[in-house]
Amino acid sequence: MTHHVMGVDGSYPLLLVLWLLPLAGAILAWAFGPQLKTAAGWICSALVGISFICAVAMWGPGTQSVSGALGAHQALFSWLPGFDFGLLMDPLSLLWTLIITGVGFLIHLYSIGYMDGDRAFARFFAYMNFFVFAMLTLVLSDNFVGLLVGWGLVGLASYFLIGFWFFKPSAVAAARKAFVINVAGDVGIMFAIFMIVASVHSTAFGDAFAFAGSYNSGWLLAICVCLFIGAAAKSAQIPLHTWLPDAMEGPTPVSALIHAATMVTAGVYLVARCAPLWSQNHDAQMLVGTIGALTAIAGAILGCAQWDIKRILAYSTMSQIGYMIMGVGVGAYEGGVAHFFTHAFFKAQLFLGSGLIIHALNNEQDVRRMGGLMKKMPFAFIAMLTGVIAISGIPFLGAGFFSKDLVIQGALEHGHPYLYAVGIITAGITAYYMCRLLFVTFFGSYRGDVDPSELGIRHPELAGTPAHGADQAEAEHEGSGHGQAHHAPAWIMNVPVAILIVPTVLIGWLMFGGDNSPWAHFFAQQFPHPQLSPAPIGEGVTGLITFGAVLVGIAVAWWRYATASAQSRAVERLRGESIRMPGILTHAYYFDLALDLLFVRTSQLFGTIFGRFFDPQIIDGAVRESAFSAQWLGTLVRSFQTGLLRAYALLLVVGVAAFMIYYAVIAGGVHP
């Protein structure tokens, strides 16, 4: 059969370079970490930066379109006849590559400051570069197997980085949880690959999509569902989202890069990449859109109930990815991908901004113990303010407005009014909890010296994260005679945040202008564009309704946390809210408990049954019984071995006599 290759086949050395440079950095930092010391951070950052430049240079080939083939395709090697590996860079993967390397470069720079003095500084950068390589493998692969390899490797990198401070048991548990849930998703994708191979005898995207119209619809739905299990696990969609808040145990730059900007959006990439499959099956679209919307609103509501600054951002990430999944799910691919694009900037911005606070406050993460930071940290305030404006979707002032509007309007255009409504409500809730975060952290007066119990913090020793490796590293520094622990200059953390402010505010204008926007032109040939009847509500009106919901959210947050009376009685108010917080929210709808009962306990029960009964009784029993019967048989046969030669002779004679009797009597005698 002929193979359908996506992209213009050719030789693109830049593509190989940008793909392999981070791997080289990872190996370098891994192998020579102790020798490189702080240079490891600069080298790894520089390699990702060079990758970014290469990705920009690949813009031309990546967006080229020659007789129906879109983008650049570089063949690598053949696995089995008909199963080829290659790299594909079309507008979709180009966009992801730019974000991974571009935002990744800024976060690498920031990490040089944030991780300064950590005893495993080089190891951190080795993991980060390894992650960038894995993520590039995921988005650049031209077939499902390569995608799954990247998919597994980013999960591994995520595991390494969540558990980076492995002396914290909570970090180790979080890393394990994230890995296990992600592997469940990998298995889903694996089954999807089996089904695709069974249908088209190929794993290449081109083949799988070329025959998208010829699949049996039930079979196609099964493929889409299996793919989506993978996407849901990676992108923290309900009910596989529980690992994401726990993943905040990792260092803050990790949360920014992996658990906000790039890895968790891999599910969005997968659905967008498989747009030809999803477009053929309305049920799959409905399922994915609904799950996305559900995740968006559920995550947003949970964001209102958190006190840990990183967990608030984690739930907001979950909620925003819900938007993206809803967008790509209903068929508004440009919208979903646009929200990924803007979210990567403003969420990285928010995480890096919160990292500035956490770093300055000596690893305090509980917003109740912050407050009044506006005067102390004006730069962090501006950084967080731009991020909050962008994520809340305040019209024209932040990037999130444009992309969120595309998703919400897209849901209506593709005939999902309920999802449209959920999107608007979620926008209001998002504005509320993000402004709550901003007001509680920066307004009023500093509460770090207030007794934790007065703020309603029940377990002060559990509330904040214990001091991380920096302290230990400082102790080591002193011990080894380095004297004063050196600190990287503040600008190394501030510069990436300052750079990110620009796209956080402005990048959304790329999506302004409907079908004539640069965004629509960029993706003009990437996604299917079915003919849609015009939506009952225009884009401008949708923007207004959303803005109304956002204003309500901001107003409620202002009334609760930022008015003069609220600020003056902040301590009592926060304590009251902590105490009255419903258990269903503080326990995140008891999803952990449900998953625990459904999967963990049942598998433990299986383990117990098999361990206590099946294995000792059936398996060991069979082994034991065969040993016993062999022994019994041996005892029996041994009794013939008397050692008496004449007894053997007698047996021989008896045997011969028996034969003779048999032939003479029973067999009827010998007939010559």
């Binding site: 046969v637 009794s639 071995q641 008397t642 050692g643 030669l645 004449r646």
Partner: protein, 105 residues
């Protein structure tokens, strides 16, 4: 031919059986390995006698040839048997087969 066949073949079979069972009995009841070897020779020769008798009766040479084979095997057997007897005697200073029970299970 039949005139030359003065003695009926069944007589030979009978004699052969008697000799054979004398041999069997000798192997079973005697404890001296030399006597046992001689008894085995008796059994061989009972078989040989049958071969010869049937070869004459059916005028077929296969019986003669087999008799030679049996004589050869008997010679080999006697050689090996005597070697074993000598070896056992050297190590145990006696040749009572009932006492040679090293391989008893």
């Amino acid at each position: 031919m039949s005139q030359m066949m003065a003695v009926p073949v069944s007589y030979y079979v009978g004699l052969s059986a008697v000799i054979f069972f004398i041999g069997v009995a000798g192997v079973l009841v005697r404890r001296n390995p030399l006597i046992m070897l001689m008894s085995i020779e008796l059994m061989f020769n009972a078989a040989n006698l049958l071969f010869m008798a049937f070869a004459r009766a059916w005028l077929h040479n296969a019986g003669h040839i087999f008799a030679f084979l049996v004589i050869t095997v008997a010679a080999a057997e006697a050689a090996i048997g005597l070697a074993i007897v000598v070896t056992v005697f050297r190590s145990a200073k006696h040749v009572d087969v009932d006492d040679v029970a090293l391989m008893k299970g």
